[in-house]
Symmetry: C2
Subunit: 336 residues, 2 copies
């Protein structure tokens, strides 16, 4: 089995989604975290494949089920959409066996968030376990990737690198720390957090950090036609992450920094200058979660990496990711 | 590889969907062909797994993609919902290779029906090809399984057994007839047909024949709390089906009749007596498709099989399917 990791983006698939004609009843087609119907219904679908997204010698089936649902719901958080329910398709090697524990995990996550399970499908799989989770939500004004403007600030919820630290531990044959393990096994979709911030702060754009902050900031920069500057020494590092300088590995293609590897399912948000900072303390009190400014938005394109004080070079990360640790090579990209 | 065929229904999964509390914004949860939101949005998800639902030595990737989409859209037809779009999740063995032809088939089917592709997800698969298609539609008054009443008539669109005849041919090592092959490879979701009938005839209930008419009539009987009588000598047999008495194999568990094996994606409909027959000719003219009465609805429960003239015994098919050729043993059941 190959090391767990997201797969290369397929340009040939993306080509099927480009330049689609506008359709009646569809407000937003492919290209954001979810599709948006004319009435504000938001729909996203998210695959979890055994051996690609999880391994059953690392996590339990319950954890794999919970993680699959959390990852799907994170797309609704990214768009600040209120969840209406999910559908779950699952294929397991033997019919009638083994699906139950995955669905226990699915239900556990949904019950915790008071989100209904609306239906799904099931099948035998002649190979690995497959889960596909469809998340359905609603938003009158979904938060898109395309709204960032020069002068905006870039913020992130929570801390990054916990899930990647767990994977690194497992791949090295050791047990990850309990904090890292939980970050991988039970990522928290930031749904209430997104709805609260959307209601209070003048958010201009957002997405969830599934691919990793470098790649995801690149998506946001491209969709908004702006340049995003990330302050590397302000990236909040997850307590489950081994300590070290945040830029270690940034230039080594084979070992990108843990905080850049994604699957944290935190939110990357932009807002006009001063729009978020008044809410940081109340947000932390309500959600027990940090909000950290990690950069700013300017004219131009791509993602640039520098220190918060502006010392040192600004590395261009947009447009040519390979020298930043295979971010594009290994980037997994939802089509939606 | 095992013979292709649908898998056993998982009671343990079904148990996760039963007795769910009603949720705000959800009109209909699991148990019908799709879930229905409060505003009439209909959502269904449908799995297609290589080696279970299709084999690539039988059909091309394009055909597998088209068939996966058609099967998913058939759930919208079953509910007489107007399609808004679909999302497609796909996992293929090698990233960047092989997904294109499947998506060509997906787009071909969608373009033919003028339905937009709204998004999806993609992944590498360490095993078989895996497709999950989410179909989204809208209906102010979705056609449910629960509306049949004693005295209603039971009708079916088109003819049955073509897809099963193709599978039988492939399993026997021979090439199926072109008609049978097309029935398997390009099933037609009866969307326009369902919308037209819904607008003209007083339909009381309906579903699509994915599992096979015996099992599917059983679902309808159970949902409506009625007894369904099927007239075995009136079942319309697909021209790609080898000829023979329609009841051949009915009592042989290992070889159920081809017309009962499902995957035809025709519609099974009920309506009050005389409600459909005035429309048969116009329907045939518009859609080049037959409408055939195949039975009636009575008080009681289960599915009973007899001749149209009432001669011979009425076999009870509901409640104990095993003696009817493993209908339940091999029944594939969407959760939704």
């Amino acid at each position: 089995m190959e090391p767990l990791g997201p797969v290369r983006e397929f340009e040939e698939i993306r080509s099927f989604l480009k330049d689609l004609p506008a359709a009646d009843g569809v407000r937003l087609g492919p290209g954001d975290d979810g599709a948006v119907l004319g009435d504000g219904t938001v729909i996203s679908t998210d695959l979890s494949v055994e051996g690609v997204h999880f391994r059953l010698d690392w996590v339990t089936p319950e954890e794999a089920g919970a993680r699959a649902v959390a990852a799907a719901l994170s797309d609704l958080a990214a768009m600040a959409a209120e969840p209406l329910g999910v559908l779950v398709s699952i294929a397991v090697p033997r019919a009638g066996e083994g699906a139950g524990p995955f669905m226990m995990g699915v239900r556990g996550c949904l019950d915790h968030l008071a989100i209904p399970l609306l239906g799904g499908d099931l099948s035998r799989s002649p190979g690995p376990v497959f889960l596909d989770v469809v998340a359905i939500g609603r938003s009158e004004a979904p938060l898109l990737r395309s709204g960032s403007r020069p002068g905006d600030e870039v913020w992130v919820t929570g801390a990054l690198g916990g899930a990647a630290a767990a994977v690194q531990g497992w791949l090295a044959g050791s047990d990850p720390s309990p904090q890292a393990r939980e970050a991988f096994s039970y990522p928290r979709p930031r749904i209430r957090e997104a709805l609260w911030l959307r209601a209070h702060a003048p958010l201009s754009a957002g997405l969830d950090l599934s691919d990793g902050i470098l790649g995801d900031a690149g998506h946001l920069a491209a969709a908004s036609a702006v340049r995003i500057e990330l302050w590397i020494d302000r990236i909040p590092i997850h307590p489950g992450c081994p300590s070290g300088p945040p830029w270690a590995g940034l230039l080594a293609a084979s070992h990108p920094p843990l905080w850049s590897r994604g699957e944290d399912y935190e939110l990357l948000l932009t807002a006009p200058a001063g729009g978020i900072s008044p809410w940081v303390e109340e947000f932390r009190r309500i959600f027990d979660l940090s909000l950290t400014q990690v950069g700013c938005v300017g004219e131009g394109e791509g993602v640039w990496i520098r220190s918060a004080e502006g010392t040192g070079d600004a590395f261009r990360a947009g447009g040519g990711w390979d020298h930043f640790g295979g971010v594009e090579e290994e980037s997994e990209e939802g089509i939606s």
